[in-house]
Symmetry: D2
Subunit: 137 residues, 4 copies
Amino acid sequence: MELFIEKNIEVRFSEVDSMGVVWHGAYPLYLEDAREAFGEKYGLTYANYVAQGYYAPIIDMQIQYKQPLRHGTQMKIIARYKPTDAAKIIFEYEIRDRITNILYSTGKTVQVFMDLDYQLVWQNPDWFVEWKNKWQQ
Amino acid sequence: MELFIEKNIEVRFSEVDSMGVVWHGAYPLYLEDAREAFGEKYGLTYANYVAQGYYAPIIDMQIQYKQPLRHGTQMKIIARYKPTDAAKIIFEYEIRDRITNILYSTGKTVQVFMDLDYQLVWQNPDWFVEWKNKWQQ
Amino acid sequence: MELFIEKNIEVRFSEVDSMGVVWHGAYPLYLEDAREAFGEKYGLTYANYVAQGYYAPIIDMQIQYKQPLRHGTQMKIIARYKPTDAAKIIFEYEIRDRITNILYSTGKTVQVFMDLDYQLVWQNPDWFVEWKNKWQQ
Amino acid sequence: MELFIEKNIEVRFSEVDSMGVVWHGAYPLYLEDAREAFGEKYGLTYANYVAQGYYAPIIDMQIQYKQPLRHGTQMKIIARYKPTDAAKIIFEYEIRDRITNILYSTGKTVQVFMDLDYQLVWQNPDWFVEWKNKWQQ
C-alpha cells in the first residue's frame, strides 16, 4: 500500500525572486507543507513525534529544479512515503502542474529519530513500528 | 546617555522581490539583526532574557518604507533604545545609505516581559532595573 | 459596501520560533496572504497592477501582537479595505480564533501607486478609479 | 588552483525552530550567502551574470545535516568551486565550528546558464570561459 498525499501549492508573491521565478530556497517550505499534510492524513505529525518523546529532524534533503515555478501557475506537490527498515522516515516529492501535469521539480528528504535531548535513536520507536504495521509498511 | 548601534545591512538576493526591490516583509529581520547587535553591545541578548527567566516578545511593530532598498546598495541600520518607565523595551530604527546617508526606512518596536509560561510581567524585572541603572536609563 | 475577506491561517512549523510561538516577522506574510486572497475575490491582484503598468508597494505597515499564535491553533485573518480619497490602498487586519473568535493580532498596511520605473503616482490611476466605482468605494 | 571562500555564519533568532535548532530550510540561505561572498571575491556575482545577459539558476541542491546548529554557536561556511567542462557552476559546501572545526553540515549546488528569456544555454558563455581561464579553471 503506497502512502502519499497531493497538496496544491499557491506561489506567494514573496517567494518570487528578481528573476520572476520562485526562489530555490522556498522549496524546502513546499516540501514541509507536503509532509505536514501527509502527517495530518496518516497521523504522523510533528506534534505526534513530540507527544511520543521524539524529534524527527531532517538529515538529508535533495531538490532538483527542472522547470521554474511562477506566480499564478497552478501546481500541486505529491509526497510519497518510501518504506525502509532503517530507523528513518523517507519521503520523495514531485511538484507538477495541476492542469498539464508537467513535472517542475523533484525532491527527497530523510528524517531520523532523536530523543528530546537531541540524541540519535538507532532503532524504530515502538509507536512508529505500530504506525508502520497499521499501514502495512 | 543615548544607547544605540549602527549595523551594516547586506541585501540578500532572496530578499529582493519581482519588483527588483527588497520585499517589505524582509525588514522585520533587519530590525531584529539590529536588536541582536544592540544586545551584543550592551548585554541585552535573547539569551540574557531567558537566563533570567523571561521572554521579551514584540507586541507592536511599525515600519515606514520611504525609499526602496536594492541589491548592492550600501546600507546601515541604526537602532536607538528609547527609555521608558513602563515595563517595556522600545527601539526606534533608521535604515540609511552608508554613502549618502539617505533615509530609506524608519521603524519602531515595543517589547514586553513575559515569564517562561508566557504570562505578562507588569513590572520591570530587577535584573532589567539594574541594566537600566548601569546605563543610566 | 464594506469589502473584506476572511482567510484561514495554518501556522507552519518553520514559522514557530524557539519560544514556541509564531515569530513576529512571519506576520507580514499572513497579511500578504490575506491581501492576495482579497485581490482574487475583488480583482485587485499584483498581476492586475502590473498589467496596468503600476506597482503598489507598501509604504507603511503596523502590527499589534496581542496573543501569541501557536502551531495547530485554528485561526483566520480578516482583511478589510478602508476607502480613502488619497491615491492609496489601505487595509486593516484582524487575526482571530476560528473557534473562540479570540483576537490574536491586528494590523494595517498602506500601499501607494508607482509606475514601472518606480516613480510615485500622486493621483488614482483611471483603472483604479473604475475599480472603486464598481465597488462603490 | 582551488577557488574557495570562508564566511562566518551568525545564526539568527528567527532561524531557530521550536526544537531549539536552526530550521533545515534556513540552510539554503547560508549556502547562498557563501556563493555571494565567493562572487564578491572572484568576480562572479548575480549582477555580473545579468550584466552579461544571463541568469544562473540552481537546478540541483543537496544538503546533509550532520550536527544541529544552535543560536550563538560560532560557525563558518566554506564554499568550494568545483571545476567542470559542462556549462555548469558547481559548489560544494561545509559548515564548520570556528573554534573546534566540528563539521555540522555539507552541501552541494549546481547552477546552469539561462538567457534572460529563461532559455537554457548549453555552452559556456564566452565571458565565463574567460573567467575560468583567468582563474585557471
